[in-house]
Amino acid sequence: MNELEQVELSFNDDVKRVSNTKELENLRVLYLGKKGKITELFSKIKEIAVEEKKAFGQKINSIKTYVEQKINDLKNKFEEEKVKSEIANEKEIDITLPVSTGTGSLHPRTSLQKEIEDIFISMGFTVEDGYEVETEFNNFDAVNVPKNHPARDMQDTFWLTNGELLKTHTSASQNRILRKYNGPLKAIFPGRCFRNEALDHSHENTFFQMEGMLVDKDVSVANLIYFMKKMLSKVFKTDINIRLRPGFFPFVEPGFEMDATCTFCGGRGCSTCKNTGWLELCPCGMIHPNVFKNAGINPDEYSGFAFGLGFDRLVMLKTGLDDIRYLNSGNIKVLNQFGVEA
């Protein structure tokens, strides 16, 4: 018994002198190592009288547990101190230093076009590609703009040396798309259009439009109103009210100018909507029977509507760009600001 108490006393003595991890490890070896004082005590069990063996064993075990506990506590204490001192010695990082994400930029048209296309795709529309160089037929005749119609003057056209032209509106694709589906269809066709006019902050000779058509049996003006509301509410991410006014476009009858509640003031009136509460957004109308006939579709069997979005205007509304000429300028300083989401 004496021996046991002695080991315990000497441990208590030794442990007080331990001041770092290394000394602690030495202490552990001294008591708990293969030849440690406590380990050796175990080997003495066999020398003990049978009736005392049990009590002796229990005593050693309790001393061992005690020593282990003590060493472990100290170990934790030293580690904690070490972490503390490391934190104390760590140099503070200037988290305000600048970083570069290395990400470039998409043209603001691209981001918005993708966003709007995705909305249409979610509504079951196909996205159709058109040409930029078009025939006179597709651009004018097919969409009911006959020869010498004032509309051919109204849109000053870039004619080409081979008799073709740069398309003046995305409607130039209507004939091809109507022929492709020859019946019910839901399609949008974004594209670049060209008009021979002088540039200023709101006029470009090269600009983007996005046009759509929906064709089926018995499509009505009431359907058009429903659709435009749903679609624009998605585009502007808020409930949009619309109103139709008479509008004249040769490829629709009846034709409409469509106004949407101004998204900037919610219809109360502001500078963007010239205090009317409405934004003139979207010419649209019921597809003209001649447009159907020109594509080989019977206008008594099918009806449908078409609509155009002045896409560049939307880009400007959305980005706050105040000069349309920036869009084709190649000015990296301007365009880089847009990142990959408009």
Binding site: S105, V127, F158, A222, N223, I225, P254, N328, G330
Partner: protein, 791 residues
């Protein structure tokens, strides 16, 4: 076009309807109203007064000191007008009144106090005369507000002309009044006219129409005209509608045009005794009323006198020599109808757009020429009782409008609008708009009035519009669309384009730019960039360029050059169309190209080159999933480097090129910048055959990486080594890659290429023996092309 509500109300009683409501309804039902103005709002408190005494001003040779009776007292007024006289009735702006927004106060003129101002009609904004103060020549009550006599207060709204393109009937007040009447279910009053039959016993005029573009020429002669000045009401209306009053006869023709939409012209009967409407011969010139000389295009309709002397450009402008002056006492009145296209073509050719030509371009109703004459004569007689009509109505009506009758069913209308509208309502609506409807049980036969039949309405869809807009677009209940739910095919080409754009912007930090479809000829020439052009703009005057681009890179090089002073590194791309040739039908071959330009002051040409290679393979493999081969041939594009460039080939088709920019272009633009460019036709890439990817099975057992460094003689191409390694038949090779190229003097004519091989077995863990065997075999294999291990 400006519309005066006072004028409209002469034809339709709109009492009880607020202006806002009138405008809103018109806007939503008929045409776009750009805005409106409350005329007369800024003028108030102006009264009639009489000059009792005119005295000289002591300090001025042109001012007078007037004693003016305002009905209750005499006021001292200093006035500079030359036409002052005693007993003259004037319009007086007393202290506290407003003259066109300006508040009158007491003033001192050349040292003499003035308690108000006598006004000219120009100062009051109700006429164009500014030569003196208004001289009221009819009895009035002194002190009464002039607004009790002159219709100064008015609402004038402006209609967007563009929105009237297809409505020739709306280019005058009477047509607009008809719309208001229909919209608000009020009655349209008939026009007061003279009966033209009263003159049928007079001698006709000599009118000969030789031009096919003149559909109708109606005329009449009037003599003994003594009045020169238009009534104030007429002046005010002309003024408010954006015209200036000139003299009574000119004003009257303008007034008719604004009222009925029918342009009219008055010739001096002493000069023009008869009319020949000819087709212009070549080289004819005419001096217009404004004193400008215009050469008339050949075959344009031309109004001549009986001697074939040109007197007016038909439908556009009258000639100076035959026009009416203040001395005109007899006139020959023209009210004609011309082919809309002929007028448009002529007016465009001579660069002269007038109020008349604007209207004729819209295909006016030929039926109204005589109505306009009857109306003008009515008004003229109201003003000047003594005028005498000295000819019969002379009316050459060569081309009548085509009568339009449309058969339509109420069901069609209801279905197309999406609202059930009863037959009665449809008939009622159309009749209000002057259509004649015959109810034939199953269908309606609708006869279109002449003023809607020349252009506007020809098919049943046009009638749908009439019914729908009258019903009110705002009243149409929205209706969901029922369509089948078949999945639609999405446009992969389009999606791949987006993926490419996102990859370039997000992973490679590039900026997407948009440009134009034409070449920058001047820039290209200056920097020695040659590019093929297959198609040009016919008129390059506005774009300033003419050639349609066949490549994108030259544009990007231009943009690089424009941005180079702001950035050390420029990474730009565009996806856009190019015209790369003409097909057998002479139609453009249009391709969709990706162009890239990267330029840097701190990266080497080689780094830029490999950057492009990396980008190309990233796009072709990871987005388009096609195999391309490069390096087989140098690119022959003149603006790229003759040595460090390559064609891009896919399935034996050349689909693009990339490489360093040609040194001469680089020197010309900025020698500090290394530059590399790439261009690839995305359509061809999209149609190339896709790589069939088979997923390789991954071993469950431990794999091993072994590095080998071989001495490679300089000049040996990596592709040769690669091909040789690929010939090595060993199932154990999972992958290998070149991890380092090392050059040093000690290595002499060799470079040290380090390859990392990853080997494993699908069946078992590799033993030391397996690895030794592999080692031996690969080294033996490499020796066959003379590659030995370093050391």
């Amino acid at each position: 076009m400006y519309i005066s509500m006072n004028w409209i109300k002469e034809f339709v009683d709109l009492s009880g309807i607020e202006t806002e409501e009138l405008i809103k309804k018109f806007n939503l039902t008929t045409a776009e109203i750009e805005g409106y103005e409350e005329k007369g709002k800024n003028t108030s408190g102006i009264i009639f007064a009489r000059i009792e005494k005119v005295a000289e001003h002591p300090n001025s040779d042109h001012l007078h000191i007037l004693t003016v009776n305002n009905g209750t007292e005499n006021l001292q007024i200093v006035c500079g007008a030359p036409n002052v006289r005693e007993n003259m009735t004037v319009c007086l702006a007393p202290i506290g009144s407003y003259v066109s927004g300006h508040k009158m106060g007491k003033a001192k003129l050349a040292g003499v106090e003035s308690f108000g101002m006598c006004c000219s009609e120009e100062e009051l904004g109700i006429g164009s005369d500014n030569t003196g103060i208004m001289d009221i020549d009819f009895p009035v009550t002194l002190g009464a507000d002039i607004k009790t006599v002159f219709p100064i207060d008015d609402i004038v709204f402006e209609i967007d002309n563009k929105s009237l393109t297809n409505r020739p009937d709306l280019w005058g007040h009477y047509g607009i009044a008809r719309e208001f009447a229909a919209m608000f279910n009020r009655e349209l009053k008939p026009l007061n006219l003279v009966n033209l039959n009263d003159f049928s016993n007079n001698k006709p005029l000599k009118v000969v129409v030789n031009s096919k573009d003149c559909y109708r020429y109606s005329s009449i002669a009037v003599e003994n005209i003594t009045k020169k000045v238009s009534p104030q009401t007429m002046k005010i209306r002309l003024m408010y509608c954006g015209m200036r009053d000139i003299n009574l006869l000119t004003d009257l023709t303008n007034y008719m045009m604004l009222e009925l939409g029918q342009p009219m012209h008055a010739f001096d009967k002493n000069i023009v005794k008869g009319i020949h409407v000819n087709s212009a011969k070549k080289g004819i010139k005419l001096l217009t009323l404004e004193g400008e000389e215009h050469e008339i295009p050949q075959d344009a309709p031309l109004i001549c006198d009986s001697n074939d002397t040109p007197v007016a450009i038909a439908g556009i402008k009258g000639g100076k020599l035959s026009g009416i002056t203040d001395n005109t006492t007899s006139l020959l009145l023209e009210s004609a109808n011309f082919d809309s296209k002929a007028i448009r073509v002529t007016s465009t050719a001579i660069g002269l757009k007038t109020d008349a030509s604007l209207r004729y371009e819209k295909s006016l109703d030929p039926e109204i020429t005589t109505i306009a004459i009857a109306r003008l004569l009515y008004i003229l007689r109201e003003i000047d009782k003594d005028v005498k009509v000295t000819s019969s109505l002379t009316d050459v009506y060569n081309k009548h409008y085509n009568k339009v009758t449309i058969s339509i069913t109420p069901e069609f209308i209801s279905k197309r609008i999406g609202v059930n509208i009863s037959k009665e309502d449809i008939i009622n609506t159309l009749e209000k708009l002057d259509f004649i409807v015959k109810d034939c049980e199953k269908e309606l036969l609708v006869e279109v009035p002449s003023f809607r039949a020349t252009k506007d309405i020809s098919i049943k869809e046009d009638l749908v519009e009439e019914v729908a807009r009258s019903y009110g677009y705002d009243n149409i209940e929205e209706m969901p669309i029922s369509m089948n739910v078949e999945a639609v095919e999405q446009n992969i080409t389009h999606l791949n384009e987006y993926k490419t754009k996102y990859l370039l912007a997000e992973k490679y930090g590039m900026n997407e730019l948009h440009s134009y479809l034409w070449n920058y000829d001047e820039f290209n020439k200056k920097n020695g960039i040659e590019t093929n052009t297959y198609l040009s703009l016919v008129d390059s005057s506005i774009a300033g360029q003419s050639g349609i681009r066949s490549q994108i890179v030259p544009t990007l090089v231009k943009f690089m050059s424009e941005n180079k002073n702001s950035f050390d590194n420029i990474n730009i791309f565009e996806i856009g169309r190019c015209v790369t040739g003409l097909d057998e039908n002479n139609l453009a071959i249009e391709e969709n190209h990706l162009g890239i330009c990267i330029a840097s002051q701190n990266q080497t040409s080689e780094q830029l080159f490999f950057r492009l290679k990396e980008i190309l393979l990233d796009i072709t493999r990871n987005i388009y999933n096609v195999a391309v081969s490069i390096g087989t041939e140098k690119s022959n594009i003149p603006f790229v480097h003759p040595v460090n460039s390559t064609t891009i080939v896919s399935a034996d088709k050349e689909i693009g090129y990339f490489g360093l920019i040609h040194p001469s272009v680089k020197m010309s633009i900025d020698k500090r910048f290394n530059m590399a460019v790439l261009e690839v036709d995305l359509n061809k890439l999209a149609t190339s055959e896709e790589i069939k990817n088979k997923v390789k099975k991954v071993s469950k057992f431990q794999d091993v990486n072994i590095d080998y460094t071989f001495l490679v003689p300089k000049g040996m191409k990596y592709s040769e080594i690669e091909r040789h390694i690929n010939e090595f038949k060993a199932k154990m090779v999972w992958s290998y890659k070149l991890t380092d190229i090392f050059n040093s003097k000690e290595l002499g004519d060799y470079s040290a290429y380090t390859f990392k091989f990853n080997i494993c077995s699908l069946e078992k863990t590799l033993t030391a023996n397996d690895i030794d065997t592999f080692n031996y075999r690969i080294l033996e294999h490499m020796k066959k092309i003379g590659l030995n291990l370093k050391n």
